[in-house]
Symmetry: C2
Subunit: 346 residues, 2 copies
């Protein structure tokens, strides 16, 4: 009732050795069909369940992987995790999820703690590009523990990653605004030491330059991916003597905040000001005024990250491959930017 049955219990009952039981259970070819069947039946009878810990200790594989994300309560990260699970569960892996809440201390802390728990690998989206987290990453590399970046990566030699083409996503979003006739397009950016935000900035910038518009650095404001931050930032922008007529936000949350502020000022969207977000969070679709956004196919991203991980663990330890997978984003045009509904194709 309390004690779990082990292979020794089975062995004793059948008057054989634990070794034989183990082999029988694992389908070792050197075991006779008779005993194999007998062991299997007895195991079932006695409610035997393999102790993964013992197996893990012996084999050095825990069949646990760590997933580190800034937070799980955004659809984007939740979906990535779902993708990872879909790919990893069938292979017998468990996923240990850690949140950093964008605090770097938690990031390195989580890595150490996951290593301590003997995870077979870590899939993560970095929180912070500054600081000394590189040290942790390199330590991982040295220990030969597979590390895969998804979405928010750092460029470190030897580490694989799965990302989307943020530059392209931003470029197309901005281009779309320009095509709709907007001329003063502001950009709600974010910590640009993170590649994703840097690339979104660059894509935005390039689209403006390519269209022969004037690029005004003052229209680029760095903020945080929160609704209230979006409001605050938008407030500033609205007070400009020459206020923007469109917003390309690197985050759906700040885009939402911006929209609230714009409305609070009595301005109309998209007639007066147009807004485009990034990530295609579900609420962008469900808002009364649906928000144009860039989809990042997060489930696919998760699946791919998991696949890269599987490749690496199953590989010979000697081979160190580095794989960079880049997904193509998709612009989803909705009401918040669709001027042409009214003006018809300009």
């Amino acid at each position: 009732m309390k004690k779990k049955t082990t292979i020794y219990d089975i062995a004793k009952k059948l008057n054989i050795t634990a070794a034989t039981v183990s082999r029988a259970l694992n389908g070792n070819s050197k075991i006779s069909e008779a005993t194999r069947k007998l062991v299997a039946e007895t195991a079932k009878e006695m409610n035997y369940e393999q102790n993964k810990l013992a197996q893990a200790l012996k084999s050095g594989k825990s069949y646990n992987v760590g997933v580190i994300v800034p937070r799980i309560d955004s659809n984007f990260f939740a979906s990535i995790i779902r993708g990872i699970e879909e790919e990893l569960y069938p292979q017998g892996y468990h996923v240990i999820i850690c949140q950093t809440h964008d605090q770097e201390a938690l990031e390195t802390g989580n890595i150490n703690s996951l290593l301590n728990a003997q995870v077979d690998g870590i899939l993560m989206s970095v929180s912070n590009a500054k600081g000394d987290s590189d040290t942790s990453f390199n330590a991982l590399l040295k220990k030969n523990v597979p590390l895969i970046f998804f979405d928010r990566k750092k460029e470190i030699k030897g580490i694989s990653s799965v990302t989307i083409d943020d530059f392209k996503g931003a470029y197309e979003a901005t281009k779309h605004l320009i095509d709709q006739g907007y001329r003063r397009i502001a950009h709600l950016s974010n910590d640009r030491s993170l590649l994703i935000f840097k690339n979104r900035y660059l894509g935005y910038r390039q689209a403006i330059l390519d269209s022969g518009l004037e690029f005004d650095e003052n229209l680029v404001i760095e903020t945080h991916s929160k609704v209230l931050e979006g409001r605050k930032t938008m407030k500033k922008l609205l007070n400009f003597e020459n206020r923007p007529d469109a917003i390309f936000s690197a985050s759906d949350f700040t885009a939402l905040g911006a929209i609230q502020e714009i409305k609070a000022h009595g301005l109309k969207i998209p007639e007066d000001i147009s807004v485009v977000g990034f990530s295609n969070e579900p609420f962008t679709r469900f808002m009364e005024l649906s928000i144009t956004s860039v989809d990042q196919s997060p489930i696919e991203m998760g699946r791919l990250a998991a696949q890269v991980f599987l490749e690496e663990v199953n590989n010979d330890k000697r081979i160190k491959s580095e794989k960079q997978v880049v997904l193509t984003p998709e612009l989803i045009i909705r009401k918040s930017s669709l001027k042409s509904q009214i003006l018809d194709k300009a």
Copy 2:
């Protein structure tokens, strides 16, 4: 570089025994201060990290707990998880998160798989009240693996739980609508074999009866916690010859769907129809038309569930306590139901 250092390595280097190293590291009182310090330093030098697997095997504790939720991409569950983490991390535990996506097969599958991974306990929100999952739960009890229900519980003897008073939350929400002058209040329910939905239904019903209003079972419709389901259901309700003038939804998501549908029919909220949701998801606050909802203090719920778990694991195995913690919900009144803004206290 590849091999991790073990206590044996430290022992060899210092010409002592692994036993001594182990004791020194664990602060055993029988070790001299001198060797304790020496071992500690050498351990640091050699980059020693305790192998949790070995320790787990020996001690029978993995310091992993399983958390099973229907999904993680709702703020409610994500917050509960955060609460659990906040409480458990400082104690050295890791959290393995599993999603059931409301499929019962996944639920029992997850339980088995977590047990297999030797988790020290399972905290969960049940997905489905039908089916034979009771068997799994009882199996857990027999194995003396702590099991804690949070939010969505099942009434099984010997299993602790942390929930909110759904009846009260629903009662107050409904009462609020009645106080605002609404008379035909519909209820968007959900699988009532789950206690939370049953209790929300009962609270709603009681509030109506207590106010002397007629209770009309036809105004109670069972649906699923999804935006689109909310729309569909609302569509039906709007076609009633005697349509409701208020909606109390057991879910914020269906409430959102209902709102969309109401607007699509050209009706005004809250003038024509009032809407109240449940869970206080962030979007209810951020909508242009903010949604009245019932807050469930999910972080607190998570923390409490974790605390109950800690009590149980730290208890003598012989003592089987059963603890039922019930939180009090809070009605957050917002635009979607605040008629008095216009009519002033009726």
